[in-house]
Structure formats: structure tokens, C-alpha cells
Symmetry: C2
Subunit: 202 residues, 2 copies
């Protein structure tokens, strides 16, 4: 595309570097910003620059936030259970269910030989250290990782590393999503949901 303007071209190219945004969408966003008052552009850019400069990862759980100490050590969180997740989006998603009040541990990715991600690139050692230092206070580790080969590999790897500690290791339930029809559920999910059937308390 020829934009007849270096300014527009630069802005479009920078926006189109973001995932899921092509040049046409980028141009639409640029034109939107040009139609708005100048202040709305500076509000946007300020918030991004401030975020990039001031954001900190929690030293304990690696959740990013405004300070180096997030809510993971606070009293309102159950200190006996740690939920292991891939990235901070999972923390937000699980927190928003209001079904879990324990701590989190953000791995920052999952083991993936294809993408060149090895256990060393993740915050796995820090998790083991955390369990070690808690000295029996942590009773359970819940794996909330993607149900893919990479996710299962990561869970298995962490599980083996945790074997020497007296800690229960569990994984979130896989099965038929609530509200969905059995006939439209894929075979692997359905098969696994039968294997992992749950007894009714009658």
C-alpha cells in the first residue's frame, strides 16, 4: 500500500507489528486517532510508555503489577495452595471466576522444543525453591496449564521435580464444557471425560 505520507506509513507499520493487526486495520486505527482530539492520542501513548517503564514482576509469583510485591503474600490468599499457570492472562481469568483464593505462580510460557523454550527459560526453578522455602506450608500445587502436548509435558516435568516434597500435585479438570452438546464435543475430550468421570455423592 502506498500512503502518500511518511507519517501515516510509519504509524501504520508500527501498529501492524502488533499481533492480529494487519495494515488495513492499522490504517483504520490511525484515521480514528486523527479524527479524535490530540489529547486522546497522548493519553494512549502515555499509558503505554508508563506501563512499559514502571511495570514490575512480583519476586515471588512472577505476576506483573505495579510493585515487586503483589497480593500473593497477603493474608486473604490461601497460603497452602499454588496454582501454576502459563501467563498472567490465566491469572486474571482464574481470579475472575472467584472460585479460587489461593496463590499463583506464573511460568512465563510452557516447555516447547519446537519454539525453543526449555525448562530453563521458565520460572520452574523458582517454583521448586518456593515450595522448598515454604517448608510444608504449601500443601497442594494445581496445574492450570493448556491441555496440549506442551502443557502436559510441562505439568509432567514440574510434577517430577516436586516428587521429593510432601505436596499434592493436581490438574484442573478436563472434560465437556458446561452448556455444550455431547455430539459436538471432540472425541478426545469426550473420551477423557469418561475416563475422568466423577462419582456422585449420593
Amino acid at each position: 500500500m502506498n500512503f502518500q505520507s511518511k507519517l501515516i506509513e510509519n504509524a501504520v507499520e508500527e501498529i501492524a507489528k502488533l499481533p492480529g493487526i494487519g495494515k488495513k486495520t492499522a490504517l483504520r486505527l490511525v484515521l480514528h486517532l486523527l479524527k479524535q482530539e490530540e489529547q486522546s492520542t497522548s493519553l494512549l501513548t502515555d499509558s503505554l510508555l508508563k506501563l512499559r517503564k514502571e511495570i514490575k514482576a512480583c519476586k515471588t509469583c512472577y505476576m506483573i503489577g505495579d510493585t515487586e510485591e503483589c497480593s500473593c503474600g497477603k493474608e486473604h490468599r490461601d497460603q497452602s495452595v499454588i496454582c501454576v499457570v502459563e501467563d498472567i492472562r490465566d491469572v486474571i481469568a482464574i481470579d475472575n471466576t472467584a472460585q479460587y483464593r489461593g496463590m499463583f505462580h506464573v511460568l512465563g510460557g510452557i516447555i516447547s522444543p519446537i519454539e525453543g523454550v526449555s525448562p530453563k527459560d521458565l520460572n520452574i526453578e523458582a517454583l521448586i525453591e518456593r515450595v522448598h522455602e515454604a517448608a510444608g506450608q504449601v500443601k497442594e500445587i494445581i496445574m492450570a496449564l493448556p491441555s496440549t502436548m506442551e502443557g502436559d509435558t510441562t505439568a509432567y516435568y514440574i510434577g517430577k521435580k516436586l516428587k521429593e516434597y510432601k505436596v499434592k500435585v493436581s490438574t484442573i479438570a478436563r472434560g465437556v464444557p458446561i452448556g455444550s452438546e455431547l455430539e459436538f464435543t471432540d472425541e478426545i475430550t469426550l473420551g477423557r471425560s469418561i475416563q475422568s468421570r466423577v462419582n456422585y455423592d449420593l
Copy 2:
């Protein structure tokens, strides 16, 4: 959504103000920027701020660009024909077809009583002035406006205003898009494509 961080929340809210981007996508973009080097965020914000500050609208055709004089007055553009469009995206789209080498005139919108856009809000007077000042040099005005009621109204309004000048007024062809099947074309388009049939030169 509770992001546990004011910095993330602000950035997500600012990005989610852009059209077509919700909070989940905004969060994805924010996390992408956080994974990249700090420089990529500043490149993005710099390009947006520079664009917003330095962009200029051409005094003649209202196409936005780096200077107040765009290519519309240059020799390589046919000075006898003006293509009237809604916004600058249409200029880029038509320019990229490489089928048109004349000048453009950007209205900055179309007449829409529902959205409160009246002829006064658009660059229509400037177009009439432009035709007037060219004193017969402009031979044709091509309307490349959306084929909606608003687009047709705008074209009709401009057409009437141009009546006193010796200038041909035309509109881009409406019809069945190239490569599409007749049976899947809507009735109005198909009906219009029969009305506006073109004779073969045999």
C-alpha cells in the same frame, strides 16, 4: 475484569477505546508489548505522537499528508478530472488500483441527517470553489461515494451544486463484483447491474 494493576488497567482501557478492539484483545496487545524490548513500545508511541502533531491536510484536496501541498497539483496527475471520495482510505484504495491518475477531493464524510452530518460539515463548498477557480480546466467530476442512501444523497447534492459549471459529473459503476457468482449477488445490485448494462463494442 480485575487486572490487579493500575498500569495494566490504564493501558488496556486506552487501547480498548480504539474501534473494534475489546478489553481481551487490548490485554493481549499489552502483554505482547511487555514481552518485546522497551524500544518497540517507544517506536510505536513516537510514531503516533509524531503523526498526530505533524500531519497536515492538503489545502486543495484535503488529503492528509506530510505537507500542506500534496501531489494533487503535480504534473503527473491529470488536472482535468477530480474524483470525489468520502475519506482518505478511499484515496489510498483507488490510488492502489493504478487505474486512475487524476486528482482527488476528500469530503471528510458524507451527508447523514441521522448522524447529524450536514453539507456544511463537509468539504463540499471547497470543491465547488475549486471547480470555479479552475475555470474550465476541470472537465469531469467522478463521484466515488458509498452506494448507500447517504452516499447517493451526497452525490445528488454535489451534482446539483455543479450544474452551473460546464463539467461532466459521473459515478463509479455499480454492479456485480468481478469473480462473484450471480446467484449469490443481492437483488438490488443485480437489478442495478441489468439497468446499467454496458454495450459491447463489436
